[in-house]
Point group: D2
Chain length 346, copies 4
């Protein structure tokens, strides 16, 4: 049986190039076409030497494929994706263009009028653990943002179980590759090395995704979420620490409380191949290069608050790994195909 032909639109960013690395090594699909504007005509291995063995050439336009990933920036991605959908091709969109259900959110958060609001309902938010069956039957999957992936997975069991009040603080620490391959002073080595800072304190674009998904898990009362991302001097990884008061009635305090909380998480993620509820605060290093999300939930007994910390690779579960997990489901392949690599340590 011939392998499914897959393509990547805009391979030249970090999400695109990580998709290429994983797809090239994927045993059930064949990466046959990659595009990129400024680099069109160059061999992929010329621009990215670690991909030299792929022997692909970067094209201006996507070739004939059965399945496509778009790693275009938001706003531009939709324009690329819509024609593919019309031709019946299944697509995972890495950009934000189909993540939010309300078109108005695009005006508010991204500053453009969405070109295809009708597709927003049809698109499935591709955090597989929350929407597995819809992903499996979707034509268009909107891959989650890197911060939302780690944050939503960290909070979902507690929100769903109603053990916390919806007053949620999410404090995330991201490696610099999350800011992309486009040059900026904020990602210039000498500026960001040996530095840490908070940013987007007036509201990061990943916030509406987080709220949307937490609300689906428990619509009432509506969650009140503060999300602050931080940039720290490492290349890959997002560590997220979430805080929320335990709900008065269902509170789970004390040692027994921690154990009960742990079981709520273990039950929620039972059988999940890529989400692990661990016994110690996770390290981003343990998710380096893989598709895992490690979660440690606990209770601050002094204050009656949930503290939960999660670790992902922003280019793994936070982007390309998650996207391939979705593709596997959409193609009827075992969900873990091509994603079994262990973390690179140390």
């Amino acid at each position: 049986m011939s392998k499914t032909k897959v393509g990547i639109i805009n391979v030249t960013g970090y999400a695109g190039v990580e998709l290429a690395r994983l797809l090239y090594q994927h045993p059930q699909v064949e990466l046959t076409s990659v595009t990129g504007r400024s680099a069109a005509g160059k061999r992929l291995g010329e621009v990215f030497p670690h991909l030299a063995s792929t022997e692909l050439t970067i094209e201006a336009e996507l070739g004939e494929v059965d399945f496509a990933f778009s790693a275009m920036p938001h706003r531009e991605s939709a324009k690329e994706v819509i024609p593919l959908l019309n031709r019946g091709i299944k697509v995972v969109d890495i950009s934000a263009d189909f993540r939010l259900k309300e078109a108005a959110e695009y005006s508010e958060w991204y500053g453009f009028t969405h070109p295809a609001p009708q597709l927003l309902k049809q698109a499935v938010y591709g955090l597989t653990e929350l929407h597995r069956s819809q992903v499996a039957s979707a034509q268009l999957v909107a891959n989650p943002g890197c911060y939302p992936a780690g944050a939503i997975l960290a909070l979902a069991p507690a929100v769903k179980a109603g053990v916390i009040e919806p007053d949620i603080i999410i404090d995330s620490k991201s490696g610099v590759s999350g800011a992309g391959r486009t040059l900026s002073l904020e990602t210039h080595f000498s500026e960001v090395n040996e530095d840490a800072t908070a940013y987007a304190l007036d509201g990061h674009r990943h916030l509406p995704e987080i709220i949307q998904e937490l609300k689906l898990l428990r619509p009432e009362p509506s969650p009140s979420v503060t999300f602050v991302p931080h940039l720290i001097p490492m290349t890959r990884g997002i560590l997220t620490t979430g805080y929320a008061p335990l709900a008065p009635g269902k509170a789970v305090t004390g040692k027994k409380g921690k154990e009960e909380l742990r079981h709520i998480y273990l039950d929620f993620y039972q059988g999940e191949p890529f989400v692990k509820v661990v016994e110690f605060p996770p390290h981003t290093k343990h998710t380096l290069g893989n598709n895992l999300c490690l979660i440690y939930p606990t209770i601050d007994a002094r204050t009656g608050r949930l503290i939960v910390t999660s670790s992902i690779d922003n280019l793994g579960k936070g982007a390309a790994g998650q996207a391939i997990q979705n593709m596997n489901l959409m193609l009827g392949l075992p969900e873990t195909t091509g994603l079994e690599a262990l973390a690179l340590y140390p």
Copy 2:
């Protein structure tokens, strides 16, 4: 006029060696004696080549000095400090041994019975901006912990003004030098480089300091503080992000709210040489090697919460710089003497 002779007990940790660097360059005091157990007998410049020009030799016992810093570990520091006090020597203790006012806290948090509970009331908590006049007349100053320095300064104006409810989350990100010079797997380069993690989720020893000081600023209602420290791959710096709901009555929301909040902070720190209320989220790089604390307070208008982020050098305002600021006051010197260095950038 001869310069005041100062000494450092246990110069061989990172706080001790930073004290030596700053004191050697201090124009009004003379560093005449440094001690260290395992390194006794060695030239200071042999162990720390950047201090070669000091021409000091590490001693087993402190020589005759007018003023002493103890950079011993907690529990051992008190034993060194008490005899010095009895001889009338002024002391800044870098350890935790005199920071907490209640002896019972030492049993609970540090696991030992305090040897001199009567000194706890007498000792002044050396966060200069909060206790300037007491510091000036103190014989014994307990230098704040590195996390509390950044956290308390970040929250003090809002707590004092009553603009927040006392449900406070403090999420701190620290460089690795904060974990000291003692070897451990947690500070082994290959383990901590390209890694981020949370730790001490069951309660960090710096928490009671933070609560003690915030409570002094506004005793009622008692603050409910969750503090989670994180280790990130850089050598120096602590970035702290604090979160708290705005108080209902005094809430300061909207653009005007942000401006009012900013003025509360500006007023609180008016004239302070080492605390700067800045207009953008601060970078730890901008406090590298100096004694500054940079603070950016803002409001999450969507949720009605205060977000405040502060940056210090954990060895500067978080340890040795703060200690010398206290010494200056205790010796009647201008507070900024020897602490004017600009941050090393980039």
Copy 3:
């Protein structure tokens, strides 16, 4: 057909744990036993969370295996390996204990009397590209040191072809994982981060290996090699720059010279799956986590010198990857089995 059972003696160092990662993912062998002294009795995943899925327990003694790797320190490794050989088990020894052909070298460089000098002739130096057929039929393979792997491969074609005089300078820059997992001030994060230094200027133990192998390629005149290793602030990777005067008769100067030199290298490594002669100075990042050695040879036309720079992952081609390449040959498996992973970038 059942898979070959393989074991790792002393899994708890960085080479051992990288072997475990690669062997667990190897499709043709089964990792069934791992040992470690201090950690015996613990689950492997408890000590190394990224290996949680292996479900192995660290043992005090190696279980029944068909093939073994020893990742013991030198001197201790021989003691472990000899009994295995006597039982007919094939072994790749990661330590230095069987790399040198002359027993006297162990007295000189390692300070101990070799316990089994007769095995030194029998052992095959496992730089596969130079000794492929002997490796294939060996019972005992001595895996090269990390520095020699990159240095010998960089220089071998030029030495073999006689295009250089044997006055060779080797300047290597290593990531810190090369110094192992054992704690030391030299590998303490705050000491080595943002630092570079040379070490072992009186002679590094990897020097006799390098000389031995270069001499095999061209015995006369005997090479005069200066080798200086440097420690730089990254976790993985060795970049080696080699220098030597072009031989007067066979000199290859000018543009044509560079082209001829390049072809000497291309011919030498033709068909090699893991050595790539590249067109630009290689980056260690392009060998991160894989088994490649990238080599760029060129000529300093102003001085008539060869400059050659190579890049490897010290834990890949410099240790565990190389060891598995040898194992594949010794077991009659395709040489690249389990080693096809692309570099992790960025």
Copy 4:
């Protein structure tokens, strides 16, 4: 007495901003004017928060000053410097525009016709230790390149004494700030972090400077120098390792040889405030933020070669510190004024 007014042309690069930091803290001069093209009109502290206390505004044109530094890029710097010289202002030029004595070298290495060849003879090459008296009386000093500063100082004593043959290899490892503040993929955090590479293998522009100065020390036989710079993942610092065969007649071999070599270096740099001949291979960390050059010369007894390794801060002795050392001399101030800061450690 009023302080000398000094200005910086193009303050916005890393050399410029480090000049500003040091000059602001200099007790004998006053920094009164700084220029920058794109940033003109902004407060210096707005662009560089660590300089907030300077209260300077970036200007389009230099104001009235008694002394100027040009931190313009090469080719553009000469255009700025010449009018200042004509007005009788003393200048230290950080760029390469006046470093080389032969105008033809600018065509060859920098690709432009020098606009004022007559000034090349008049300009003094500002490696103070080699040209102190000329610097003191110069109107125009050409500040050395960062690599030449560390390399020439490392080799000068051996070249001068004739203990080596002039077949010299210079292998330098530089922090990323040496590549400047201008954005490029080569200095993008995710590309350069955890990476090492060689570059400029066809000849780096700093080579002719190195040759010119070594030749002045010993004209015959003319030195044959291979220089290869490397980029390693740290912000500041250059570690240089130099190699050369010991001269046959004057060879200094064995333990006695090392001692004699050491004394050649100690004698050469006797009384130098900023060059230290140390007893162990130096660390770049020990020159972080200061104006020192640490040098460790030794002998590879096996091969009869000199190995010498030096460490500088590329922005200190490699740029701004060196420039101020020159200024001090040119203004008749003590050479060390404003440059006494100890290295920032760790």
